[in-house]
């Protein structure tokens, strides 16, 4: 039954880092490096030397024909390296892999577009670069132009295109490839909402036709919509492969295991973090204890501790509440109240705590992500961490608990209802 289109076994990729010292870019560097290398021969195993980094380590997985597989991971987790290996741009340092079929890659749309050439010329050039044959391009030319919506500008040099037109044309060419395996990386970050919907639709079609798609994105809702299964990469390793909703939850919770409290270490912050230095974010129960799980019926509070090193006027500190899927529940700032806004129009240096109370019976049960932000409206953003902390809300005692079913939506407010019998 098993008929994998892609099979990779223990694929690893090692890169050199610290290029300035270690990679001889000019002959002079080569000569100096040569001298150093003789010395290094006796000291260190080259494979484990700190000038190398494993971008991927022992990745193994299979993809079946017609499957749409999501790949998620933070920046630097190895997603791009994996795609480059699968599309043969670069070779693995170790390991083995098999790919059955043509791989069409959309690693950054518009690769090979030349600004001096017209839209028409670029369609042919880009098509050829992506691996289409000439008659194939001829056949699909009108379709491509129509999809891109650049119409009458088709004979204008693309350097005169708006960036939106440029990207639409580029995606249109790439989208009309017919490879057995399509590798898509972050193309949906471009274009307006209308065009994005079109792109997603096109990708859906591709999957419907039984072709295999590898889809890399930071857009969790696109991943959830388009893929059934997802792999999660972290620091070059495959840490999870699961049905997409589970994998996305795992990804969003990664590295957020601290219990109800988050401290910012100095190495996590920018060197020039002053004048606003975040210290800690905490979730507290009504007794003032730092907890990972709060009770929705009792209410809880969230506090952010921070240092200010010079006078800041107009500073506002706030939180974003999000579900683990990345949907916002609400945003709130400590200066929302006009009275506080007056009182703290300028904050002198010192240590501060901004605390906000979440009233009882607001949140539904589930796991939530807290983001924090400190900024002066429209002037400057001092600090932002979109995924500072996660915590769990327990629904014991919440409205409607007589029925054990899960309730939809992130909030579960206690609302006034009245029931009256209407007499006819």
């Amino acid at each position: 039954m098993s008929n994998p289109v892609i099979r990779v076994e223990n694929i690893s990729k090692r890169y050199r880092i610290g290029t300035a010292q270690h990679r001889p870019d000019t002959l002079r560097d080569l000569i100096t490096a040569g001298v150093q290398q003789v010395g290094r021969l006796f000291t260190r195993d080259e494979y484990e030397s700190p000038s190398h980094i494993w971008a991927l380590k022992d990745i193994s997985f299979e993809v079946e024909r017609g499957q749409v597989l999501g790949i998620v991971g933070r920046n630097g987790a190895g997603k791009s390296t994996l795609l480059k290996i699968l599309s043969r741009v670069t070779d693995p340092t170790q390991g083995y892999g098999e790919i059955h079929g043509r791989v069409g890659s959309l690693l950054e749309v518009g690769t090979g577009f030349h600004p001096e050439l017209s839209g028409r010329e670029n369609i042919y050039l880009n098509g050829a670069i992506l691996g289409m044959r000439r008659e194939e391009i001829d056949r699909k030319f009108d379709e491509i132009v129509e999809f891109s919506e650049v119409g009458k500008f088709i004979d204008t040099p693309v350097k005169r295109f708006s960036s939106g037109m440029y990207l639409r044309l580029a995606f249109a060419v790439a989208a009309h490839l017919e490879p057995e395996i399509l590798v898509v990386d972050e193309v949906l970050a471009v274009g307006d909402a209308e065009f994005q919907r079109k792109c997603l639709g096109k990708m859906n079609d591709v999957a419907q036709e039984g072709r295999t798609v590898l889809f890399v994105s930071h857009n969790m809702s696109a991943i959830l919509r388009l893929t059934q299964e997802t792999i999660v990469l972290d620091q070059g390793m495959l840490v999870k492969r699961a049905p997409t909703p589970e994998a996305v939850d795992h990804y969003l919770n990664m590295g957020l295991t601290k219990q109800g409290e988050r401290y910012w270490m100095s190495e996590e912050l920018k060197d020039n973090q002053a004048p606003f230095i975040p210290v800690a974010l905490r979730v507290l129960n009504p007794k003032g204890q730092v907890v990972d799980t709060v009770n929705a019926a009792e209410g809880f509070s969230i506090e952010l501790v921070y240092h200010i090193t010079t006078d800041i006027s107009g500073l506002r500190v706030g939180i974003y509440m999000m579900t683990t899927r990345g949907e916002y529940v609400f945003t709130s700032f400590d200066m929302d109240d006009p009275q506080l806004f007056e009182m703290y129009s300028v904050r002198p240096p010192g240590r501060y705590i901004s605390r906000c109370c979440i009233p009882p019976n607001l949140m539904n049960e589930g796991r939530y992500v807290l983001g924090v932000n400190a900024s002066v409206y429209r002037i400057q953003r001092y600090f932002q961490d979109d995924r500072a902390l996660t915590f769990t809300v327990d629904a014991t005692g919440a409205p409607g608990m007589q029925w054990p079913e899960p309730r939809l939506g992130p909030v579960r407010p206690k609302l006034e209802w009245s029931i009256g019998k209407v007499e006819r």
Partner: protein, 282 residues
């Protein structure tokens, strides 16, 4: 539909493995990508003359102006012998294959770095890039060849049957450029010193070839043999002979061909060995 069915019947299987040692040269794959080579060549030509008022006329002006300068300095002022030919014709008949070689070499040696954005994003045989650069030079050559025919007509020279050798001689010039270009382009990926060296190499190489002076200037015997190590000696001598019926190429031609073959084969292997790392270091 029909198309996809055909593809299903013969789905290519690709194996991903660490790059190991000297790879064999996959000419079949290169042939499959012939349309890409065509489009890259076409792009190079198209882009070169975009937004230039004179456009492709530059391919005529360049050899013509160089011919005039050489005639003035070497022909009239220095009275360099010219194998019994009018000096302008003597110079132009060498400038043509020379400029073909020089521009092919120049373009191909920087071609990989110039196309870094392609190399780091998409797979295709990397050989397509220097090959396209070399082919693009051929178009300029074709245009300036018309000028040569014009100058020949002006001096009332008509080529004999030797003319038929011309394509082979042009091919030798291209292969020479490709052979050196393969080495230099692959080296340039890692050592950008190469692109600073190329103009200098070309200049020295020009004076080491019988362009402004006839081959007879070089003493016969050992010196002439050593001189023949420069493949462009054979190319230029052969080109003049095929068109204008001057001294036919002798054993120097054999040496030239031998040198080109050695450079080309070693260049191909070096290129193939390095190509797997281009995307990582370019």
């Amino acid at each position: 539909m029909e198309n996809s069915r055909r593809q299903n019947n013969q789905i290519p299987v690709v194996y991903l493995r660490p790059a190991a040692g000297w790879l064999s040269i996959d000419l079949k794959e290169l042939w499959r990508y012939r349309e890409l080579i065509f489009f890259l060549t076409w792009r190079d030509i198209k882009v070169r003359y975009k937004q230039a008022v004179l456009g492709i006329a530059w391919a005529i002006l360049q050899p013509l102006l160089t011919m005039l300068i050489f005639t003035l300095i070497f022909g009239i002022l220095l009275k360099t012998p010219s194998q019994g030919l009018p000096y302008p014709l003597f110079a132009l008949s060498a400038l043509l294959p020379w400029q073909l070689f020089a521009s092919a070499l120049q373009r191909s040696s920087i071609s990989l770095v110039g196309n870094a954005n392609l190399i780091t994003k998409i797979y295709f045989p990397r050989l397509a890039i220097p090959l396209a650069s070399v082919f693009a030079a051929l178009v300029d050559f074709g245009v300036s060849f018309i000028v040569l025919l014009g100058v020949m007509a002006f001096y009332q020279f008509w080529p004999g049957w030797n003319f038929l050798w011309l394509p082979l001689i042009v091919l030798l010039a291209l292969l020479t450029a490709l052979a050196v270009g393969l080495w230099l382009s692959a080296l340039n990926v890692q050592y950008r010193d190469v692109q600073h060296m190329v103009p200098f190499i070309i200049q020295v190489w020009m004076y080491a070839s019988p362009i402004v002076y006839p081959i007879e200037t070089i003493p016969e015997g050992t010196w002439r043999l050593l001189y023949g190590l420069n493949p462009m000696v054979g190319v230029i001598q052969g080109f003049r002979w095929a068109l204008l019926g001057t001294t036919p190429p002798d054993f120097t031609m054999l040496i030239s061909v031998g040198v080109v073959l050695i450079l080309l084969i070693s260049g191909l292997f070096y290129f193939r060995r390095m190509e797997k790392t281009f995307a990582d270091i370019v």
